[in-house]
Amino acid sequence: MSTLAQPAASLVQSVDWLAVAPPALTALAALAVLVADLFLPRARKPLLGWVAVAALAASALLLLPLRHGDRGTFCVPGHPHVCSYTADHFALVIQFLVLGGALLTALLSVTALTDARGRLPEGEYWFLLLSSAAGAALLPAARDLATLIVALEVASLPAFALVGLRHGDARSTDAALKFFLSSVTATAVSLMGVSFVYATTGTLHLTEIAARIQHVDGSLQTLTQTGVVLTLVGFAFKTAAAPFHFWVPDTYAGAPLPIAAYLSVIGKAVGFTGLILVTVVAFPGYSAAWGPALAVLAALTMTVGNVGALHQQPTRTHSAIRLLAWSSVGQAGYLLVPIAAAGHARDPQTSIGSTVAYALMYAAVNLGAFAVAALVGRGRTRNRVADYRGLYTSRPLTALVLAFFLLCLAGLPPGVIGLFAKVVVFSAAVDAGLGWLAVVMAVNVVVALYYYLQWTALLFRAPEGEPVRLRVPAPLTAAIALTAVLAVALSGAPQLVLRFAGGSLF
C-alpha cells in the first residue's frame, strides 16, 4: 500500500474547509438543532426553525467565496485533479439550488409546524431536514462513486423519516413505507451497478473511471455497460423518471406539504445531479449506452407524468398535491432531455447546462406553487384543486402569483422564464439531433398546458361558498413573495439562469 509507505504527516490530509463549508455548516446546524432540542422548553421550540433557516441562509452565503469554482479537496495524493470533493461551478449552482430550496422549504415548514400543533416533533423535523439538505448539498460536489452514494443516502434517509413523521397519520406512514422500500431497492440496484463498474475499471473516482472505461477488456464490455445502466437507476429513481415514478403521487400526497415540496425540488435535484455526474463526468465514453436509455426514459417520464396529471379529478382529496406530483414527474422528463441530449452531442458538458437552467426555474416556480398550496391548504385542509376556485376574489395577489407560477410551469407567456427554460431544453434536443424527443416533448407541453391552464382558469372563476379568511403567517408570505419576485425577475432577465445553458459548468 503506497499510502502507508508515505510519511505519517500525509496520513491526515489537509482539508480545504472553506470548500466543504456549505454542506458542513448545514450538517453541523443539524446536530446543533438536535442537541438544542433536548434542552429547549416546549414553548421555545419554534426557535429551532429560525435557527435552521439562518443556518441554511448562512450556508448559501458561504457559496459566495467559492464563486470562482476552482476549489477541490480530498484529492488523491499525487493527483491534485482527482478529488472526491470539487466545488466547481456546477457544484456551486446545484448547491445554491439545494440550499435555496431547503431554505424555502424551511420557511414553509415553520408555518406547517405551528399549524400541526405538536403532531410533528419539531426537533426531529429540523434535524432531519437539515441533514437531508446537507446530503443533497454534498452530492453535487462529490466526484467519486462512494461519496456520491453516501451523499445520496444522507439526502434520502432523513427524507423517509420526514415523510412518515406525522404522528398517528396512516397516510403519512404508508407514504413513507412506499417511498422507503422503492428507494432502498433502487439504491441496491444502483450499488450493484457501481460494483460492476468498479470491477471493470478498478476505481471509484469519476474522472478516473472516465479515463479507464475506454480501455475495458472486450470480454468485460457487457458487464461495464450493465453496470453503467444499473448505476443510473438509483438516481433516475430520485428524479422520479418513469418507470421509477410510482411512489411519487402516493408519497407527495401522504407527506407533510413542505416535505412534498422539498422532495419535488431537492429530491429531483439530487437525482438529476447524480445522473449528470455519472453520465457526463464518469461515463462519457459510454454515451451510446446511456444516451438512448435516458432519451427513452425522458420521453416516457414526461408522457406518463403529464397524462397522469391530466386525469386528476379536481374534487378529489389531495388532488392539488397529486397534480403537482404528477406534474413534477412530467417536469422531470423535461429535465432529463438535455442529459439525454448530452449523450448525443459532440460536447456533452454544455448541453447539461440546460438542465441546470431548467432546474433553477423549476425550483423557484414549483416551490412557489407549493407555497401557495400550503397557504390555501391552511384554510381547506383537503388540498383539492376545487378549493382554488375563486381564489382571485378572496386573495387576488396570491391568485395572480399562483397563475404566474402555473404558467411558468406550462411554459407560456406571461411566464416568460418558463418559456425560455423550455426553449433552452428544446434547443439542446434539437442541437443534439434528438428530433423525435423534441417532438414528443412538444406534444407533452401541449398536454401539460391543459391541466395547468385549467387550474389557472379555476382561480378566476366565481367562488363557491364563503371564502375562508385566515391571517397569512409571515414565513409563508415571505416564501411566496421570494419565489414570486424570483420568478418575475427571471422573466424579465432570463439571462440570470440561462447563462448556465451557454457553456460548460465543469
Partner: protein
C-alpha cells in the same frame, strides 16, 4: 411623410410594443383618485380606451414618420442584447411589410376597446378583460415588430393565454370547449414551430431575422431547410389557419365575444401568414420551394372548403350560425393569402399581404356587425333570424342592413373595395409562379381558386338575402339602428376598406419594395 428623427422613431416603436403591457399591469391596479369615473368598471374600461388610443396615435406617428421612399429598409430599429446565452436580442424594427399590420392591430384593438367602453362584454368584471385585451395587443404588436426568431416565438405565444381567457370567460355558448380547442391547437402548432425556429437558429448560428434574411438560406443545407419549413410551417399554418388544420377556428369564433372575434380574425390570424412571409420565404427559400405546391394545394382546398362549408351553413334549415359562417369564410380568405405566398412571386406575396390587411378590416367589420345584430335580436342563428323569408334587416334597421351588405360585398372581393386586390394578385401570382414551381399545377390552383371567388359570392349573397332582405318588415318590430358608438367603431373600417380598394398603392407601395428585396435574396 413627416421627418421624425430615428431615435424618436425607435422610442415610438418600443413604446407601441411596451405600452399595452404596462397598461395591462396598470389595469389591475385600483384607479388613481383623479380617474375614478362613475364606477370602477367605467374607469378601467376608459383606461383601456386611453391606452389603446395612445398606442394607436403612436402607431400612426410611426407610419407618418416612416420613410416611404425606402420601405424595404428596416426602420426605427432597436437592437439590445437580452439573453446572450441564447443569443436572443431585443431587436425591433418595421419595414413596409410589418408597418401596415402594426397600424391595423393598433386600430382594431382601439376600436374594440372603444366598442367595449360603451358595450362592456357580458361576463365577469371588465378589469381583467381590459388587462387581457392589452396583453393581447402587446403580443400581436410585438409579433409584427420583433426581428428575432425567439422573440417572435415569445410574442406568438403571448397571445394564447389572453385569448383563451377572453373566449372562456366572456364568450357565448360552448365557450369553454372552444377556448380549449383554440389554445391547445395553436400551442401544439407553435411548439412545433419552435422546434423549426431553433433548428434554423442553431444551424445558421443566429436568431436574427434580418441577418437570416440577408443570408437567404445560404448557410442552411436543403435538408435542414426542408425540416425547418415543415416544422415552422405547421405552426404558422395552424394559426393562419390552413386547411385541414382549421377546425379550431369556427368554434373559437362562434364562442368568442364580439371583440374577441374581431381581434381573432383581424389580427391573430395575420400572425401566421406574416410569419410565412417574414420567416419562411427569406430564411429557407429552398425548403419553401419544396413545400410550395403542397401549400398552394392546401390553400386552394381551403378556399373551396371554406366556401362550401359556408354555403352549407347558409342554407335554410342548416341551423347555421353567422359567426361560424364568417369564421369559415376566414378559412377561405386566408386560403387566398396562403396561395399568394405559395407562389413565391412578388405579385403573389404582395397580394397575400394586401389580402391580410383587407381581411382584417372586412372580417373585423363583419364580426362587429354580427355582434351588433346579436345584441339586437339575441341570436346569430340564421334560421331563427331569417324565419321563412328573411330577417328584412333593410327594413327594420336600414343602416345596419346596409353596412352588413357592404361588409358582405367587400368580403366577396368586389373590385374597388379592399378585398379585391389581394385575391386578384394572389391569383395573378399563381398564374405565373416563381421559377422552379410547376406552372400547370399552379394554373390549376389559380383556376380553382378563382372559382372559389364565385362560391364566396354565392354564400355571402345568400346571407344578405336571408338577413337583410325578407318579406313584410312592417310586422316585425323595428330594431334600433346603428348607434353613435357603433358608428365610431365601424366607420374607420368602412372608410379604410373603401380607401384601400380605391388606392391600393397606399399598401402595395409599401410592401412591394420590401417583398422584392426579400425574394431577390435579401441583399441590399
Amino acid at each position: 411623410m413627416i421627418d421624425i428623427s430615428e431615435s424618436v422613431m425607435q422610442f415610438l416603436l418600443a413604446f407601441v410594443v411596451a405600452a399595452p403591457l404596462l397598461g395591462a399591469l396598470a389595469a389591475l391596479l385600483p384607479a388613481p383618485p383623479g380617474l375614478k369615473g362613475t364606477s370602477p368598471e367605467q374607469a378601467v374600461l376608459r383606461h383601456g380606451v386611453t391606452v389603446t388610443g395612445v398606442v394607436l396615435l403612436a402607431a400612426i406617428a410611426l407610419a407618418a414618420g416612416f420613410d416611404h421612399d425606402h420601405p424595404s429598409r428596416m426602420q426605427a430599429t432597436t437592437d439590445i442584447s437580452w439573453i446572450p446565452a441564447l443569443h436572443v436580442r431585443i431587436h425591433l424594427g418595421i419595414d413596409g411589410i410589418s408597418l401596415p399590420l402594426v397600424v391595423l392591430t393598433a386600430l382594431l384593438t382601439f376600436l374594440c376597446a372603444l366598442y367595449s367602453y360603451v358595450k362592456p362584454p357580458a361576463g365577469p368584471a371588465p378589469k381583467a378583460y381590459v388587462a387581457l385585451l392589452l396583453l393581447l395587443e402587446t403580443g400581436t404588436l410585438a409579433t409584427f415588430a420583433v426581428l428575432d426568431l425567439v422573440l417572435f416565438f415569445l410574442a406568438f405565444e403571448t397571445v394564447l393565454v389572453p385569448m383563451y381567457f377572453l373566449i372562456a370567460r366572456w364568450g357565448g355558448e360552448g365557450r369553454r370547449a372552444a377556448a380549449w380547442r383554440f389554445v391547445l391547437y395553436t400551442l401544439l402548432g407553435s411548439v412545433v414551430m419552435l422546434l423549426g425556429l431553433l433548428l434554423v437558429g442553431i444551424k445558421a448560428g443566429t436568431f436574427d431575422m434580418v441577418a437570416l434574411a440577408t443570408d437567404n438560406g445560404r448557410s442552411l443545407t436543403t435538408s435542414v431547410q426542408v425540416v425547418a419549413v415543415l416544422a415552422i410551417g405547421i405552426g404558422l399554418a395552424v394559426k393562419s389557419p390552413m386547411w385541414p388544420l382549421h377546425s379550431w377556428l369556427p368554434d373559437a369564433h362562434t364562442a368568442a365575444p364580439t371583440t374577441g372575434s374581431v381581434l381573432l380574425a383581424g389580427v391573430l390570424l395575420k400572425m401566421g401568414t406574416y410569419g410565412f412571409v417574414r420567416i419562411l420565404l427569406p430564411v429557407a427559400p429552398d425548403g419553401f420551394r419544396t413545400f410550395a405546391p403542397a401549400l398552394a394545394a392546401f390553400a386552394v382546398v381551403g378556399i373551396v372548403w371554406g366556401s362550401l362549408a359556408c354555403l352549407a351553413l347558409a342554407r335554410r334549415g342548416a341551423r347555421g350560425d353567422l359567426k361560424r359562417l364568417i369564421a369559415y369564410s376566414s378559412v377561405g380568405h386566408m386560403g387566398f393569402v396562403l396561395l399568394g405566398i405559395a407562389t413565391m412571386t412578388p405579385t403573389g406575396v404582395n397580394g397575400a399581404l394586401f389580402a391580410n390587411i383587407a381581411h382584417g378590416l372586412i372580417t373585423g367589420l363583419l364580426f362587429f356587425l354580427v355582434g351588433g345584430l346579436k345584441e339586437r335580436t339575441g341570436t346569430t342563428d340564421l334560421d331563427t333570424l331569417a324565419k321563412d323569408t328573411g330577417a328584412a334587416l333593410y327594413g327594420t334597421a336600414p343602416r345596419l342592413g346596409g353596412l352588413l351588405a357592404f361588409g358582405a360585398v367587400a368580403s366577396l372581393g368586389l373590385p374597388g373595395l379592399a378585398g379585391f386586390w389581394g385575391e386578384m394578385l394572389a391569383l395573378f401570382g399563381a398564374f405565373r409562379p416563381a421559377a422552379g414551381l410547376s406552372r400547370p399545377a399552379f394554373v390549376t390552383f389559380m383556376a380553382i381558386g378563382a372559382l372559389g371567388t364565385l362560391l364566396t359570392a354565392a354564400y355571402l349573397l345568400v346571407v344578405v338575402r336571408r338577413v337583410c332582405m325578407g318579406a313584410a318588415p312592417e310586422q316585425t318590430p323595428r330594431l334600433p339602428d346603428v348607434r353613435g358608438f357603433e358608428f365610431a367603431a365601424w366607420t374607420p373600417l368602412v372608410v379604410l376598406t373603401v380607401l384601400a380598394g380605391l388606392w391600393p398603392k397606399a399598401l402595395l407601395g409599401l410592401t412591394d419594395p420590401a417583398v422584392q428585396q426579400f425574394l431577390a435574396g435579401g441583399t441590399r
